[in-house]
Subunit: 304 residues, 4 copies
Amino acid sequence: MDYQKILNQVSQEFAGKPRSGKVASYIPELAKVSSQKYGMHLHDVNDNNYCFGDSNERFSIQSISKVFTLALAMKVVGDQLWNRVGVEPSGDPFNSLSQLENDSGIPRNPFINAGALVVADVLVSYFSNPKAALLTFLHEITGNTSIDYDPVVAASEKSEGYRNFAMVNYLKSFGNIENNVEEVLDFYFHQCSLSMSCRELANAFIIFANNGRVIGSEREFLTGRQVKRINALMQTCGFYDEAGEFSFEVGLPGKSGVGGGIVAVHPDRFAVAVWSPPLNPKGNSALGMASLERLTTLTGFSIF
Amino acid sequence: MDYQKILNQVSQEFAGKPRSGKVASYIPELAKVSSQKYGMHLHDVNDNNYCFGDSNERFSIQSISKVFTLALAMKVVGDQLWNRVGVEPSGDPFNSLSQLENDSGIPRNPFINAGALVVADVLVSYFSNPKAALLTFLHEITGNTSIDYDPVVAASEKSEGYRNFAMVNYLKSFGNIENNVEEVLDFYFHQCSLSMSCRELANAFIIFANNGRVIGSEREFLTGRQVKRINALMQTCGFYDEAGEFSFEVGLPGKSGVGGGIVAVHPDRFAVAVWSPPLNPKGNSALGMASLERLTTLTGFSIF
Amino acid sequence: MDYQKILNQVSQEFAGKPRSGKVASYIPELAKVSSQKYGMHLHDVNDNNYCFGDSNERFSIQSISKVFTLALAMKVVGDQLWNRVGVEPSGDPFNSLSQLENDSGIPRNPFINAGALVVADVLVSYFSNPKAALLTFLHEITGNTSIDYDPVVAASEKSEGYRNFAMVNYLKSFGNIENNVEEVLDFYFHQCSLSMSCRELANAFIIFANNGRVIGSEREFLTGRQVKRINALMQTCGFYDEAGEFSFEVGLPGKSGVGGGIVAVHPDRFAVAVWSPPLNPKGNSALGMASLERLTTLTGFSIF
Amino acid sequence: MDYQKILNQVSQEFAGKPRSGKVASYIPELAKVSSQKYGMHLHDVNDNNYCFGDSNERFSIQSISKVFTLALAMKVVGDQLWNRVGVEPSGDPFNSLSQLENDSGIPRNPFINAGALVVADVLVSYFSNPKAALLTFLHEITGNTSIDYDPVVAASEKSEGYRNFAMVNYLKSFGNIENNVEEVLDFYFHQCSLSMSCRELANAFIIFANNGRVIGSEREFLTGRQVKRINALMQTCGFYDEAGEFSFEVGLPGKSGVGGGIVAVHPDRFAVAVWSPPLNPKGNSALGMASLERLTTLTGFSIF
């Protein structure tokens, strides 16, 4: 399969077309990113790389970070994690509090905000320096030690994060947060502020396409069973209340972030990241979804 | 892959083990089925058949029929269908009415009861004799003209179907049912009463593994795009509020019914049906799920 | 207190003022009533009558009938009634189904539609001819045997009553309806179609201001305890999700109907009925509420 | 009316009877109060006082304080308050967050926690020292300058107040909190910690029975219209999801607290406070409700 040719075709199809959607604006750092940014990077399990556009420019990965923290939490605490967070789609927008009320403080899955906050709490409990531990994990799976948090974004998230403050306090009232509220949120706002390029994201996600291993290494970061669960969760819950639409249109497990990034995985084939800031009404990158739909249609590689 | 050997192993692993779960009892016809029934049938895209146990005995397929009516509705009305029913997981139990209230009468997906009733209404509008049309469709894709409704089950469903009567009337109050309430329910109760064996189900579902075609025929019952959507819907919504668990444990698109049947599909490989009446608390066959989990683990064939 | 002088003042204050709100239009019989109709009748416990405007013209009393059926049901089955319906405000619009889902089919109070349907079922179970029994009750408490159902309105309600069909079937699925769905709804649609004037309503409601007795008679239709409960229920639940506003603005127990009627009671003083068809966004007569607010302000007679 | 004779009778009826219900235990200060405490005090508009039992012992008034803060907020900002909080029963337990989600951050009424927190924010905005201002208000209406906060209770509330932290942050995310979260909660936890006896409560609440005035004074603390609204709110919303039951059983506007206190008002007649710590399942003093029911039955003084 000539991936580069296909990426070129995707790029040409959308070049010069007007962008629909709106760039996230709840913090100034996201609002000021150009709506014209557009890039894509595909990394296959033979360690080849294909790309176009702004694929080497870093952006705020936001909720895509939830996949990394989930992976790290599964690695360190194993199946105990599922006592504190579920594995089912929520059917509600990503920041809903009302479901928690009926579910006694157990979030439906690790990709809605409530679930990601519980995962953050798990890491804060486990590591003496969770922010350093997450960076180390990312540096190891990518071989790239320059990946880092954006402190300005993290501070901005905190200053506007009343709903996340509400969520952690609410979870804590159910006994599902072990640590100090401020500590958990400090970690969470930092993970959301991670700054990575499409190339870096595709390289990091290859472990989910390669049975938990970095290409060319025998080191197993995650077991096959763990990778399968993460991919299943991305498939059913990775796109808030647009998971079904993404499953149909793209047909790959994936995860989006309000910074306009989307990463998707084809088990045993490739990981691919795309970036375009304007979001559709459900909060997912409009051009990102369209580009991935073209990719799976042109390659014929969907999992369905 | 020696599927028969693997099926034999699955059969042996569970033989003689006590059955957990409870046989559905809301109608007498389901309650009186033996909890010991157990069979499995795998049909691959090379037209080979593998099986064990009670795989040739017919049972009430119940909600598995929703996949057939969805396929038939997509075939006859195309993408118009999505104006009347969504494609997202509901996050609520299968018979919930409250979501409809917020969603102006548009069911979240075609596999919750509300969605299946809208699909039934579409078929009642399109066909002068929808019950005959559904049988014809099943006879054509299986080559088996003896597949039929069970009139006793259909009558029983009707006599206890207050919640479905509520649902159709409620949908009609939003304008999302075109036909007479009784007509729609008569069709719906009949589709649920379809009596099929594991063999027949696996043979019927092969079109979802084979790009919409019966094995060995050029006739396209469904387009590749339609099959992809149906498989994506089974993956995200086929198991009520246990879709995430099934995605992880089994990792295949599938659909269950309260009669104890489950059918799953591995695109480009096979369709497989299993039957064991006792249901877990979420309403899915307990042993059926366990058997499929073993199958994908032993074959290594999950889509994730 | 010179009630007639005060009624005259209310009438003059609103005469010629433009009417805000919209006449109910879900059935043609309500839609064609003139929005200019306006009348009021006050009946005090000394058997004096005061009125203005269209107070002798009959209109469709709709949900006001729920007070009569509640009174009759309490009279015939006593406190058993509270096993099947609650006494708390619902906090939801009058036709909500979702609350029933959480409350196992026990409606929050007898004045939301679900509750009134359960009360209707109680009467259908108790009386061989419930429609005749309700008329007899009304004829006895008013001494007016010409009060009757409007068959055209009843038939219209039925033809558009999908949501009520949904509700009764849903209640029956929880076991909280004993009779045939059609029979219960036939009774319910008839009670809603009752045609009464402000004078007739004020005369009928005097039993709630006079400890359960008709003026000048020793016959106790209801006990003092029953009257107290009915008044308390009107106070907390008589105006859907505007009960709090009515309690404040008017400060009397009362009940409204979508026909534009409102009846209110001042225990030990009077019953008063007002009619003006245009409804505010919450479904209560806009001018009716304003008129009652003026009445209690000018008389100084609120219960608070 | 010989109120003392009636209070004596109430006292005797319940003396020695076993106490049903459970003393609140979410903070240690409440848990250690004896379940045998029992007292009642009635203050009439002729300035007479009647009492029995532990009526002079102070206890934690908890949510009863919401009536004082509401009164003070209405006094200082007037009808603007209703832009930020509603006047309708919530139909949900007192600490529900899900309703806020649908109502864009406007709490249903000032007596659920969310509403009381908005009222607290109003006072924090208006007064430079809101804690002192609330005490001054209480000292003025009671003539008793020893009424004070209990700092141990306030600190305890804070240490367990995750749900209230969640609520204020959530309200702030909707823009319905103007001040710093910590400041608002500091005030709120203090108001809940107010320590008052039945006598002091009945004396304070007499302004709601006496048109906004202290007995024997011309000074109007609240207008008649404001008093009417406060009483109407107590009637419809003063007892969480037991408001309907209290309206029926007692038939007076009132407010309860988890410390076991209840205060009720008969406009133009009296204010009465009762204290007994064990709570019924809805969170209201079981013996307190029973005692008030006997009072209104024996006096015949309910507002219905």
